[in-house]
C-alpha cells in the first residue's frame, strides 16, 4: 500500500439508522437506556424524540477507518456533540461519514479526522483515530 499523505480522503460511508437498528445495538452493546427506544421517556427528559446511542454512531464511524485498511488502530476518540434523532418510520436517520488524513505524526502514525453528519450538522466532535501504517 502506498503511504497516505496529509489531506488524503478515505472512502465515505452513508448509513441509515432506524428504530430497529437502535434496538439491535441496545441488545448487542447491553445499553438499554430508554432514551434510545422509548419515545415517551425521551420526551420526558427533554429530548425531541428517541436518539441513537452515541456509541452506535462512534461504532459506525469507526468503520470508515477500519474498512479503509490503512493500518493498526492505536487510539480512537470522539465527543458526542449533537444527538442523532431517529423517527418512528422506515427511513430512519441518515448519517453521513467521511474521513481524511489530518496529519502524519513524527513517528509515522496517521491522524485520521472523521466527520459524522446528520441533518446537515456534525454530531461528533474531535472524532480522531490514530493509525499505525
Amino acid at each position: 500500500m502506498s503511504a497516505l499523505e496529509k489531506g488524503a480522503e478515505l472512502p465515505p460511508l452513508q448509513v441509515r439508522l432506524t428504530r430497529a437498528d437502535l434496538v439491535r445495538y441496545a441488545g448487542a452493546a447491553l445499553d438499554h437506556n430508554p432514551i434510545h427506544w422509548n419515545e415517551r421517556f425521551a420526551k420526558e427528559v427533554g429530548l425531541p424524540d428517541v436518539i441513537a446511542h452515541g456509541m452506535l454512531t462512534m461504532g459506525v464511524a469507526g468503520r470508515v477507518v477500519t474498512e479503509a485498511r490503512v493500518g493498526t488502530l492505536v487510539s480512537y476518540s470522539a465527543r458526542f456533540t449533537r444527538p442523532v434523532v431517529v423517527p418512528d418510520d422506515d427511513k430512519g436517520a441518515l448519517v453521513e461519514l467521511s474521513a481524511k488524513v489530518g496529519a502524519v505524526l513524527d513517528n509515522g502514525d496517521l491522524r485520521i479526522d472523521i466527520t459524522a453528519r446528520f441533518d446537515g450538522r456534525t454530531v461528533l466532535g474531535k472524532a480522531i483515530a490514530i493509525v499505525r501504517p
Binding site: V15, A29, L30, G54, M58, G59, Y76
Partner: protein, 151 residues
Amino acid sequence: MALDQSFVGRTYPPSPVYEVGRAKIKEFVDAIGDTDPVHRDPEAARAAGFPDVVAPPTFTTILNLELINTIVSDPKLGLDYGRMVHGDQSFEYHRPVVAGDRLVAVGSVQSIMSRAGNDFIVLRAEITTESGEPRVTGTAQLVVRDAGVDS
C-alpha cells in the same frame, strides 16, 4: 447538585471476568454494520494474523458501560442518572481483543468538575486479560445536565 469530590482518585475492585465470545462479536458487528470477515470467520482472522475472530474497535464499550453503571449508581456520589449523558469517549488500544479473551476491567474516577451548573465526571476503565495483559484503556466523560435548565 454538585458531585462528591472525594470520589476523585478512587479505584474500584476488578470487574468479574468477561469472556469474549465469537457469537457476541458477531452480534456486535451486525449491529454496527461491519461486514469484515475478521470479526466473523476464525479462518479469515487467522489469515490476518489474529489467534481468533477479533472484536471491533468499540466492542469494549460493553465493559465500560458496566463500570459506569456501577460507579454512577453509588448513592453517595449524588449523580442524577436520568440527567446523565455520554459527553465523550476514547479508547487506547494495546493489544487486539479476540474471542476467547477473559477480560477484567478496573474502573477509576479521574476527575469531577462543575461548570455553568452542569457536572462533569471522567471515568477510566483499564481493560486487561485475567492474567494482566493490557488490552484497551477506555476513558469516558459523563455530563450531568443542570436540573434547573429545562424543568
